[in-house]
């Protein structure tokens, strides 16, 4: 299962791991809005054709924006994460779901299967053996899906960056990440703040409106 991962080791003890044919998104420009523009000749879903038509009508943009706002409010208010804890950060994630810092107040209910989840909180260090599994779980999640990288190890390898042959240098080498929460481990309040930042990002998304721009 490791054939599709390429690992390069450097002299100073650091290393870089990437999927051989997948997106590389490590840091880079801040993505705060998503606009989908159909390519000539591609198959476009009926809802997007409807959005195209509506956009061109007078008052259509206002209607689309209103619908978009309602949809974004619904998505942000009920983010259902996959129960995915790898290492120590999972303990703080469990505390965040538990009595004192109840994440259920924000509509966040953990689901056991990726088919019903729209958020994956990668909490803990991901090894090279585990990376294809994380990638497959992310691919099994239906759109729209979001990723929170919790803790130092999931952000960049953290304390396991140097002199280490088996930990991925950040989970964003295999899946694109929306919010990074630093800490080792981050307090449950810090994780909740990360979820709130993701809610603000979802609020600003524009998937249906702004077509043709």
């Amino acid at each position: 299962m490791c054939q599709n991962l390429a690992v390069r080791m450097f002299q100073d003890g650091s290393s870089e791991t990437r999927m051989k044919d997948g997106p590389i998104r490590s840091g880079g420009p801040e993505v705060t809005s998503i606009a989908r523009i159909p390519v000539e000749g591609s198959q476009v879903a009926p809802i997007e054709q409807l959005a195209d038509v509506l956009y061109k009508l007078p008052g259509g943009a206002l209607l689309l924006t209103t619908v978009e706002n309602v949809l974004n409010w619904a998505r942000a208010s009920s983010l259902w994460p996959l129960t995915f804890g790898l290492a120590c950060c999972a303990m703080e994630m469990m505390q965040a779901f538990a009595t004192r810092f109840d994440l259920d107040r924000f509509g966040v209910i953990p689901r056991a299967t990726p088919r019903q989840a729209d958020l994956i909180i990668v909490s803990g260090r991901c090894t090279i053996k585990m990376a294809p599994v994380v990638r497959r779980l992310w691919e099994q999640m239906p759109e729209p899906k979001y990723v929170i990288s919790m803790g130092s190890c999931a952000t960049c390898g953290g304390p396991f960056y140097y002199d280490n042959y088996s930990i991925l240098k950040g989970i964003d080498t295999v899946i694109p990440v929306d919010v990074y929460v630093p800490g080792c481990p981050p307090r449950p309040e810090a994780l909740i703040e990360g979820v709130l930042k993701l809610q603000e990002k979802i609020r600003r998304e524009r998937r249906l409106s702004r077509r043709g721009t």
Partner: protein, 152 residues
């Protein structure tokens, strides 16, 4: 025999339910996070900072490189020009995404220049924002404003 086991089972269930209902009547232990925040202890390992000392006008760092040497994650990068007491700091970067908040740099600093702050809310959309340069460390606060979500 069956009746005894059924009676024992019923007793076990009733005892459990009584405990649960008794707890339901007590005050709740939940902290409503963005609206009320708990006081972290004075020793809490929050984000690192080099606070500016008002008498000196600058931070208290004497550029001894002890923190860079002791850091287990090798996330502190210091560069200085000049020699001896005329050393001038050109670069003091801490990679907060690699930092494991262990406190060895704070312990080893001879002038207490590098300290922990009580801040812990530093989530960001972009991983490059977690590299704290000297001016971020002087400001002693997270780089982005704290999120409030869709609650107003």
């Amino acid at each position: 025999m069956v009746l005894e086991r059924a009676a024992a089972a019923f007793r076990g269930l009733v005892t459990g339910l009584r405990e649960t209902l008794r707890t339901a009547a007590r005050p709740k232990a939940t902290l409503l996070y963005p609206l009320e925040k708990s006081n972290v202890s004075p020793r809490w390992h929050g984000l690192l900072a080099l606070p500016v000392d008002s008498e000196i006008g600058n931070d208290k760092c004497i550029i001894c490189f002890q923190c860079e040497r002791i850091c287990p994650s090798r996330c502190i990068h210091i560069e200085a020009t000049g020699r001896g007491k005329e050393r001038v700091l050109t670069r003091f970067d801490i990679e907060m995404d690699k930092c494991q908040y262990c406190g060895l740099c704070v312990e080893v600093c001879p002038t207490e220049a590098i300290v922990f702050t009580p801040h812990y809310e530093a989530s960001t959309y972009n991983r490059a924002n977690l590299l704290y340069t000297l001016e971020d460390l002087h400001r002693a606060a997270p780089k982005e404003p704290v999120a409030r979500g869709i609650l107003r």
